[in-house]
């Protein structure tokens, strides 16, 4: 009875999703055809549609996973240094990960759901840093700037995986030190 285990079903789903992520990071959502994904994950076209209703559902799922991954990466780091760790994490993750981010952002222009996810994901992740705002600086705007730094680092990492992440983070650290020093 090919009533296979729940674990196997889960693994299959993930296998397809991983293959899709590879394609998406390489070619973008819309230059990737379903055939590309099928080829990449080595299963038949029909099977992909047993697990996903179509490409849009795969995109949405990839995006959700991506945000969940970001969030967990943050919460698992030490409270105080959370933000800098997040920046460092970009350096250790693969370029594909950063490239996927660019695709997600481009797609978010069209989809309200994706836009909300993207916005909330990041802002929640940085909520904790709010209290660190020194006197004379708008806390809300500061958070936005920090988010911007994070986003820009992703963009540049997508463009150049050789980028010197450590030097980049050092500068940010220095900036934050001077900012919080009274």
């Amino acid at each position: 009875m090919p009533k296979v285990s729940e674990a196997h079903l889960q693994a299959r789903r993930q296998q397809i999703l991983d293959a899709a992520a590879v394609c998406f990071a390489r070619d973008g959502f819309h230059r990737t055809s379903m055939q590309d994904i099928v080829r990449e994950c080595g299963v038949s076209a029909g099977l992909v549609y047993r697990y996903f209703s179509g490409k849009d559902e795969m995109i949405a799922e990839i995006v959700r996973d991506w945000h969940a991954h970001r969030a967990s990466a943050l919460t698992s780091s030490a409270p105080g240094a959370a933000y800098l760790d997040l920046l460092r994490e970009i350096g250790t993750s693969d370029a594909p990960d950063a490239r996927l981010a660019l695709q997600v952002w481009a797609e978010s222009v069209r989809s309200d759901e994706l836009r909300a996810l993207a916005r909330d994901g990041i802002s929640q992740a940085l909520e904790a840093t709010r209290e660190q705002a020194p006197a004379g600086v708008d806390p809300e705007a500061l958070i936005r700037v920090l988010i911007a730094v994070y986003q820009g680092l992703l963009v540049q990492t997508a463009w150049d995986s050789e980028l010197d992440n450590a030097a980049f983070v050092d500068v940010v650290e220095e900036v934050l030190r001077r900012l919080t020093a009274e």
Copy 2:
């Protein structure tokens, strides 16, 4: 066969390009069909192909225009405050402009040419700020951070056109002040 003026040819080309930019900012490069562009600019499909060899050329042209526009915006501002003015300019430009940036970046993942354009465009624009790096801070990395801030502001503006650009720039200004103060 009416032979028209050079000016008319230029105007036609621009008309098509503008329509394409509107569509691209709204739907992304690949969700935009040639028919969409044709509909938007009100000329025939055949005519579009007299001015552009295909969609890819239109994309490349749009991207070049976008970078040229950034560069000229910078060089026209006062030398010293150039960077901050660049950030402020994002607030005054339309959201479509920022959204187009996200599309360009997403596309740059696939195209070496676009990636080079994107990278050079920004880094050249900030070359002038190099000498401002204070002692103890890696100049190269500082530039990258400043670029990152610029990029992130674009992302956030694309997501939320109501974003408080002035407050954002104020924070950046304060950061730069503290950084350059010995």
Copy 3:
């Protein structure tokens, strides 16, 4: 591998066939997918193929059953009034039954076998009425007209299950009376 009783096999086969008939009457042969049938009868896809070589065989079987059912309905009624009883039977059977007839006829356009079945089935059923043809009326043509009335009643019943079958049959009865009266 549990070897089950012959009765169980027969019941299973009928269970599948009944489910198929429900689907076919509702959606037509070709808008009905095997998955629809599988869902309707509650067994697995694989099992259906142990009983039938494919969808075409199920269709053929359904059609044969349908004709057999018609024939037995007729022969079980009183010899003389056989035809009118056949018409009345349409009123008591469900609309699905009539709808199935329309599907069978549509399919008969493609299949010589189905066409022969359909033709023979009805003409055999009315063979008995041949001797009733009154003088001055072509017996062959009369039979065809009676068959036509039967067929048309099926069509109209498929369209409107509220149709007044009794009034319809009364008219036919009156017509036959006047026809056979010298």
Copy 4:
């Protein structure tokens, strides 16, 4: 300027529709693929979709045409003998026409719109015969019987294009004569 004449567009549309009708009458709506239609009418797949949004729209259009054709056939015949002429018309039309009717009816099981069309089309066409109902016969039911004869003749013509239409109509004529004779 291939802004071709309105007549040409109309002709193209009809060309596609005619090819579709041929396929539909031969294979049924659902055994006919768009490729079959494309092959039959000799234009490209893309062009078919310029004229029709999909197969369902083609089916609906074919059905509407079919009913319109029936109606006009009736109204163009002499008022009194209208009904018998309608029956005779079936004999002169091609078998494909009758086969198409079976497809339409099968499809009407699924579609409320088609069912309404089918019902109204025929009943309107026979409205005129209402007054012919003799005393002692339910006029409504009589009309239904006449419609049934018409429908059944279509079915039998679809099955056997050699059917003796004249003999069939003679019987119907004789029946009507006896019915109206007091």
